[in-house]
């Protein structure tokens, strides 16, 4: 290159806003997944021990019907679409769609809580049995996760639409969506490990 002039690089791009909330949420999600991994691991281990010793895992007179759990799984899958829709709508500053998507997500979450509590009434499983203890603890903890995820998503949507984040900067809602996807993933494991395999 035949030039002796000093070349200056163009100004660096403005630094991205530190994605503190997203990083913190990702870490919290990792911790939450580990908590469920431990609980479900204990459930499967106890179930395996009971079956290998020739006993039954479900006490006599109890049953875990598959229908409510499967409907819950389908509902959670739908909520994966609606939470993605909410994130996308906020990115386009499309308020009506964002509110609608958030409302649907909350409705789906409440529906899963409803189907799970209905399932509780159908199982006839007492908490003072080892099976009941583990089933209620794992699924109850997941209900708490659903509530936390819904509150997180609602707060972040309102804060985003209220102006704290704007347009493409939607870190808060992306963080809430990440937590919600983890909630769906945990439900999928519970659905298979508890509701299907019983």
């Amino acid at each position: 290159m035949a030039t002796s002039a000093a070349l200056a690089l163009p100004p660096a791009a403005p630094p991205a806003r530190p994605r503190v909330l997203l990083v913190g949420t990702a870490l919290a999600v990792a911790g939450t997944l580990m908590a469920f991994a431990g609980l479900i691991g204990v459930y499967l281990s106890q179930r395996h021990d009971a079956l290998t010793q020739g006993g039954a895992w479900l006490p006599d007179g109890t049953n875990i019907p598959l229908t409510p759990g499967s409907i819950g799984m389908a509902t959670m899958a739908l909520s994966a679409v609606t939470i993605w829709w909410a994130v996308d709508a906020v990115g386009r500053n499309d308020r009506p769609s964002a509110y609608l998507a958030l409302g649907l997500t909350i409705m789906f979450g409440l529906a899963v809580i409803n189907s799970t509590t209905f399932l509780y009434t159908q199982m006839g499983l007492a908490v003072n049995t080892r099976t009941g203890l583990l089933v209620y603890t794992v699924t109850g903890a997941h209900l708490a996760m659903i509530v936390a995820g819904l509150v997180f998503a609602a707060v972040m949507t309102f804060r985003t639409l209220g102006g704290e984040y704007h347009g493409r900067d939607r870190e808060g809602l992306v963080a809430a969506a990440l937590f919600w996807y983890a909630t769906i993933a945990v439900y999928a494991v519970i659905w298979y490990a508890i509701y299907i395999t019983k």
Binding site: M1, T3, S4, A6, L7, A8, L9, P10, P11, A12, A13, P14, P15, P18, R19, V20, V23, G24, L27, A28, A30, G31, T32, M34, A35, F36, A37, G38, L39, G41, V42, S45, V127, N128, T129, R130, G132, L133, L134, Y136, T137, G140, A141
Partner: protein
């Protein structure tokens, strides 16, 4: 051809906004109770953990003294001996080792990574108050005849809830610390350039986040079983301690000691005054040690699980990162010079005790070397009591050393250097005397016995353990006395008493509310202060 880079203007704009809009610092009680300043929260963690640590050390000393002559010295009643034993173990980890480490990290890590605050400052404050409340409730549960082996149902419930609060609080602090290192670094301070202490805290926090939730899940299970279920499975008072025992044995117990490695690396690097050529080796060693300390899979382990290839392999391999880090630290002195500082002694003492723990853990991992625990025992060979104590003591020594090393950032003046040279030697001797007799007793087949008297270890060697714990207490006392200058306001407190290399030494001592008065320069190496000296 000259190439220049125009720094982003927005950095200056944002920083100027932050510094110019800094509100006045609150004073009095409001400055403590309502503060979200990471330095205040860290100081609270440090002071409270040292206070609660006195209880733990005193309890450990009482057990060792009873062990000298268990038949004649009846310090603990037969109905409380096992409860208080669990208090000593849980307390060592959750009252002393973990919160002391968190306290030092909360003060130092944001400064090291050039952050104006810790991430989620209100959550960090909540973690302290939650931890304090959990600690108080845990002690209250024992006072109510609760806890493991306790006779009061309400006391057992309270113990489980307090444990949950303690674990949750530690997790919140871990998220805040890890996020600070990941997301709040200034321009140019890539993860590969992060100071080794901050790097080790990141690794430790990640390991806490990946393992302690498993404990939290078990605690939820315990609570549901004991409070609402039959209380015959994991929530039974006799099942509580065995269910959490995995956090006190290797490899899991090593997670509390990961910052020891970063402290050693940082201190030796700083006193050498030279750039660390094997820095990537040091970082990889710390990360590898973190991975090898993952022990959550040992929840309710069986004897077969403990002899698995995974556990044996992890136990044997864990020593390699320590040796690699030692080599990387030694290499830095080829270019630099050695200066004896109290921080060097603290770091070396902590590292040696951790090395003892990991080497013993490696030996203990060899199948069939140690007797399997019998049904009547508390569930483990006394050998692993020594391994766990060594790891936790290493963390405590490093934590105290961290207070000394970063005294001008944590307190108002430097610590007393002469006493600081004495304290780590006393702590090293005390820790070795505390740990080695248990290791010897374990190798020769001794176990905990669930008798009315405390019979852990041999009566003869328990005299050495008692002397060791007394020396640990003395060492902590000497260190605390050496810290008294930290409480006094001083003039001309040096910003950088050690000719430091990293960003925390750039700010005044004690640091202001937003940590740095001016905008930080763009970081161009792992030793930004060497760069600065070379430029001037």
């Amino acid at each position: 051809m000259a190439v220049t880079e125009t720094p982003p203007e927005t950095v200056a704009t944002v920083s100027a906004t932050v510094t110019s809009s800094t509100p006045p610092q609150p004073s009095g009680l409001a400055a403590v109770l309502g503060s979200g300043d990471h330095k205040v929260i860290g100081r609270l963690y440090i002071a409270t953990s040292l206070l609660l640590g006195a209880l733990v050390v005193g309890l450990g000393e009482a057990f060792a003294i009873e062990g000298i002559a268990p038949k004649t010295l009846d310090i603990f009643g037969s109905d409380s001996v096992f409860q208080l034993f669990t208090l000593a173990r849980v307390g060592t980890l959750f009252f002393l080792a973990l919160p002391l480490t968190i306290g030092v990290a909360l003060v130092v890590v944001p400064l090291q990574v050039g952050a104006r605050s810790v991430a989620f400052p209100r959550a960090a404050a909540a973690s302290y108050w939650g931890w304090l409340l959990g600690s108080g409730l845990l002690i209250a549960s024992y006072a109510m005849n609760g806890g493991p082996f306790g006779g009061s149902s309400e006391g057992v419930n309270l113990w489980i809830a307090a444990m949950g609060l303690l674990v949750a609080s530690v997790l919140v602090a871990a998220v805040a610390l890890a996020t600070t290192v990941i997301a709040l670094r200034p321009a140019g301070l890539y993860l590969a350039r992060v100071p080794l202490f901050a790097w080790s805290v990141l690794i430790a926090a990640l390991m806490w986040i990946l393992t302690l939730p498993v404990l939290f899940g078990l605690i939820v299970l315990m609570y549901v079983d004991h409070r609402h279920g039959a209380g015959t499975y994991i929530g039974a008072p006799t099942a509580l301690y065995p269910s959490i025992q995995w956090i006190f044995r290797n490899p899991q117990v090593y997670v509390v000691a990961i910052p020891v490695l970063g402290f050693l690396g940082d201190v030796l690097h700083t006193v050498s005054g030279a750039r660390m050529k094997l820095r990537s080796v040091a970082q990889a060693a710390i990360a590898a040690f973190g991975l090898l300390s993952f022990g959550a899979f040992l929840v309710a382990p069986s004897a077969a699980a403990l002899d698995s290839y995974l556990v044996v392999g992890m136990g044997l391999l864990a020593i390699v990162p320590l040796l690699a880090l030692a080599a990387a630290c030694a290499d830095v002195f080829r270019a630099g010079s050695f200066k004896l500082r109290a921080g060097v002694l603290y770091a070396t003492a902590a590292f040696l005790i951790l090395l003892l723990s990991v080497a013993a853990g490696a030996i203990g991992s060899i199948p069939d070397l140690l007797d399997a625990p019998t049904g009547g025992a508390l569930g483990d060979n006394i050998f692993f009591l020594g391994v766990g104590h060594a790891a936790m003591l290493a963390a405590v020594i490093a934590g105290i050393g961290g207070i000394h090393w970063w005294a001008t950032k944590i307190g108002r003046q430097p610590a007393n250097e002469k006493l600081g040279l004495l304290a780590p030697l006393v702590l090293l001797l005390g820790a070795a005397l505390t740990v080695i007799p248990d290791l010897v007793a374990g190798v020769t087949g001794d176990e905990f016995q669930r008798n009315a008297d405390w019979t852990g270890g041999y009566a003869g060697t328990n005299g050495a353990v008692a002397a060791g714990i007394a020396l640990v207490g003395l060492g902590v006392l000497i260190a605390v006395v050496s810290f008294l200058p930290l409480l006094k306001r001083g003039d001309d407190v040096p910003a950088d008493p050690w000719d430091g290399l990293t960003l925390e030494w750039l700010t005044v001592s004690p640091p202001p509310l937003a940590n740095f008065a001016d905008d930080l320069p763009v970081v161009t190496s792992a030793e930004p202060l060497i760069d600065q000296r070379e430029e001037t």
